[in-house]
């Protein structure tokens, strides 16, 4: 149930509002929330992934009445949430390997099915590296079999846990340890990379959605929607990484919002391969406003800068806006 209440956000946002009926408040605003990713984990200050995971899994726990099992890929989330001998997770949780979260999820779902435990649902989660690269085969297999798993990708656009290396989700021109900001084509190469949400849609699975940590209600609503359905579902969450992006730790949510407002990160839902809803850009901004606060794009602005590259990035944003109708006047 998409929230009918719109909150105008000005640099911060409202988690709950005492003027709203309780059932319309966000999961996070409730004292009853599961806190599935409990405090005490070792994430960096301002970690978008820790935020996104807590939002998503708490929403999932509510949607499933706590009947939820999670499979987690290797990566930042897995590492900072389970520093031996502690764990932050308040639900049954397994970490197997880097590339197999989707397959492990498939196995858990199969076990629940064979045991007649229809109410117990499954999420598989991982970062962009574990999802779009090394986990791609298993993910596609889970999609095409329509296994009853919700896969959540926390996309911070690089292999952060190993020191910020390029993944196929790394945006063009971004500096990473393996796409250094040197030479005539600094940063990640244009013409490479892949968009997992579109690939997920191409599998024509029951549900695909994108969300960010800037839009809590939207994210929670999408998780809820996902659990109203059965079969293979995919949620792609943009989670800024202060360390890897070279941004201030207090800018995490702002950057996520700017990603949407520039058009660089389209926020939408799709069912069976067709787009069913799109979050409109409320107040469009040029990409530069999003890029400047991030040191991974600093080389585009240092000295004479690279206005040509910025223009290319702007063109990508323009294309997204056209393609997804992010500035539709009718809306």
């Amino acid at each position: 149930m998409m929230s009918p209440i719109k909150f105008y956000q000005t640099g911060t946002f409202t988690v709950g509002n005492r003027l709203l009926a309780p059932e319309q408040r966000s999961v996070q605003s409730s004292t009853e929330r599961h806190n599935s990713l409990n405090s005490g984990h070792r994430a960096c200050q301002g970690c978008g992934e820790a935020l996104g995971a807590r939002y998503a899994v708490d929403a999932a726990m509510r949607a499933t009445n706590g009947q939820l099992i999670a499979a987690n890929a290797t990566g930042c989330l897995e590492v900072f949430s389970t520093p031996y001998p502690e764990t932050s997770w308040q639900l049954p949780w397994i970490h197997s390997l880097f590339g197999n979260a989707a397959a492990v999820g498939t196995g858990i779902a199969a076990a629940m099915k064979v045991k007649g435990k229809k109410d117990v649902r499954v999420i598989a989660q991982g970062g962009d590296g574990g999802t779009t690269d090394i986990g791609f085969g298993c993910l596609s297999g889970m999609f095409e079999r329509n296994d009853d798993v919700l896969y959540i990708c926390y996309d911070n656009e690089a292999y952060m846990n190993t020191g910020v290396q390029r993944s196929s989700a790394t945006p063009h021109a971004a500096r990473t340890a393996t796409t250094m900001a040197v030479g005539p084509e600094p940063g990640a190469t244009f013409g490479q990379g892949k968009k997992l949400p579109l690939i997920a849609m191409a599998h024509e699975i029951p549900y695909v959605a994108t969300a960010t940590v800037a839009d809590l209600r939207d994210l929670e609503a999408k998780v809820e929607r996902a659990f109203a359905l059965r079969g293979a579902r995919y949620l792609h969450v943009l989670v800024p990484c202060p360390l890897g992006w070279g941004a201030a730790s207090h800018d995490t949510i702002k950057l996520a919002r700017l990603a949407r407002e520039t058009g660089l990160f389209p926020q939408f839902e799709a069912e069976g391969g067709e787009v069913t809803s799109v979050t409109q850009i409320r107040h469009r901004v040029p990409v530069e406003e999003y890029l400047r606060p991030q040191k991974r794009f600093a080389h585009l602005f240092a000295g004479a800068g690279r206005p040509d590259v910025v223009a290319q990035i702007q063109a990508e944003a323009d294309r997204n806006i056209r393609r997804f109708k992010l500035l539709d006047e009718q809306s």
């Binding site: 099992i69 897995e78 389970t82 197997s96 492990v104 858990i108 064979v114 298993c138 297999g141």
Partner: protein, 417 residues
């Protein structure tokens, strides 16, 4: 009930009788008939409740099994050769997490060069990972071992690999005695996990373990295998009592009591060896055979006990450690520490080269006269090896090795066997 069926079919039926709950299937020669058989049994409703999942790779197969097993389901898969290597990361993960998955490995050579025929290089490549490895000498044993494997795996919370020679056993049609569902149910109780993903009692499985505890966790896997050394013969004995035949166990000696020479081997070649040894015995040779059926845990004490009275030991193996020599030989040698016996390694049958009774007899006779080299390659064609080495000495751009050798051999199609 007695049946005349293909080895793969026998295994499929035995696995089905063991009431697996999740089966992951990815095709690879020569195990494919096993998962096809199981797929049919599930789809027809004969095997239920059971989820049969067509996965997209062997890595996925083991990963799905991991998820299923961790969630409390009895999980099974099968693979061989390249497939086993492709899932290697997950294979280590399964034993590291202590999940009682049972997997058939239809032993096949590993490329390059690509080869679909039998040898033991695949399971040998995973001998250190913590999986229990059992070897079948014939199809009756192959089917029996799967039933024993589920019991063993679940008791110890460790995964078990049942190894059977690809093609030689999987594709041979022979007589087997298939147990009834009631018999298997009485022997194999439902799976009760030691750890399970359950919303009612949440646990986290798969944490990172640093230097402070890794050695201890790893040792515990070893401790379980040491427990298996006890349990394997006990389970074989329980099985014998219920089903009326001896299969499995750690080792099985044949005519070794007064033997001066004992040949040690794994798998289907044991059959041919026994025939050869019977004939040699008829001429007065004091020779026997020791079959090793549990390769991991390696039964050091049982092997020592069976071999210590002999003068010489010949290890006949379908495995090869490039740069060293034998694989099984090394383990056997460890068991015979300080006994001062003569030891011979015979590497045979790599890539499916037939091991004939005639060749075995010849090489064993040489061994009995101590005329054998410490390391022998049975029926190796030294001509073409030397021709290739010369070729490489003569010219830099000597071309792909396999192609050169095949050309030297001439047309293979005209050969009968």
């Amino acid at each position: 009930m007695l049946k005349q069926i293909e080895g793969s079919r026998a295994v499929a039926e035995a696995v089905a009788l063991s009431r697996p709950e999740v089966i992951c299937a990815y095709p690879i020669s020569p195990q494919t008939h096993i998962v096809e058989g199981l797929g049919e049994l599930v789809k027809s409703g004969a095997l239920q409740p059971c989820e049969f999942i067509n996965v997209e790779s062997e890595f996925a197969a083991m990963s799905v099994a991991i998820g299923a097993s961790a969630a409390g389901a009895r999980a099974y898969t099968a693979t061989a050769s390249q497939g086993l290597l492709f899932m290697a990361e997950a294979v280590y993960n399964a034993s590291g997490l202590g999940l009682p998955i049972v997997m058939t490995v239809a032993n096949r050579a590993i490329g390059a060069p690509i080869n679909i025929w039998n040898d033991h290089s695949d399971s040998m490549s995973q001998r250190d990972c913590g999986w229990i490895q059992l070897f079948a000498a014939h199809n009756q044993e192959a089917l029996d071992l799967h039933i024993q494997a589920f019991k063993l795996a679940e008791e110890l919370s460790m995964p078990v690999m049942v190894c059977m020679d690809g093609f030689i056993l999987t594709h041979a049609v022979e007589r087997v005695d298939m147990p009834t569902q009631a018999q298997v149910d009485a022997f194999l109780p439902p799976y009760e996990p030691r750890q399970v993903l359950d919303p009612a009692e949440p646990v986290s499985i798969g944490a990172m373990v640093g230097p402070e505890a890794f050695m201890e966790v790893r040792y515990l896997a070893h401790a379980k295998q040491l427990m298996a050394l006890e349990r394997i013969p006990q389970i074989a004995a329980e099985f014998a009592e219920r089903f009326g035949r001896t299969t499995g166990g750690l080792v099985r000696p044949y005519r070794t009591e007064d033997a001066e020479t004992i040949v040690v081997a794994l798998g289907s070649v044991l059959g041919t060896l026994k025939d050869a040894v019977d004939e040699m015995r008829d001429t007065g040779a004091r020779i026997g055979v020791l079959g090793i059926h549990s390769f991991r845990p390696f039964p050091l004490a049982a092997v020592r006990e069976a071999l210590q009275h002999a003068k010489r030991i010949v290890v006949l193996e379908k495995s090869f450690s490039v740069g060293l020599g034998g694989v099984v030989s090394t383990d056997v040698r460890l068991a015979l520490h300080r006994l001062g016996q003569a030891g011979y390694t015979v590497v045979a049958g790599l890539g499916g080269r037939a091991i004939t009774k005639a060749s075995l007899t010849r090489v064993l006779n040489e061994a009995m006269q101590d005329k054998l080299e410490p390391l022998t390659f049975l029926d190796l064609d030294w001509r073409i090896v030397n021709r290739q080495l010369e070729r490489e000495r003569a010219v830099r751009r000597s071309g792909p090795i396999a192609e050169n050798l095949l050309r030297d051999l001439g047309t293979v199609a005209s050969k009968v066997s």
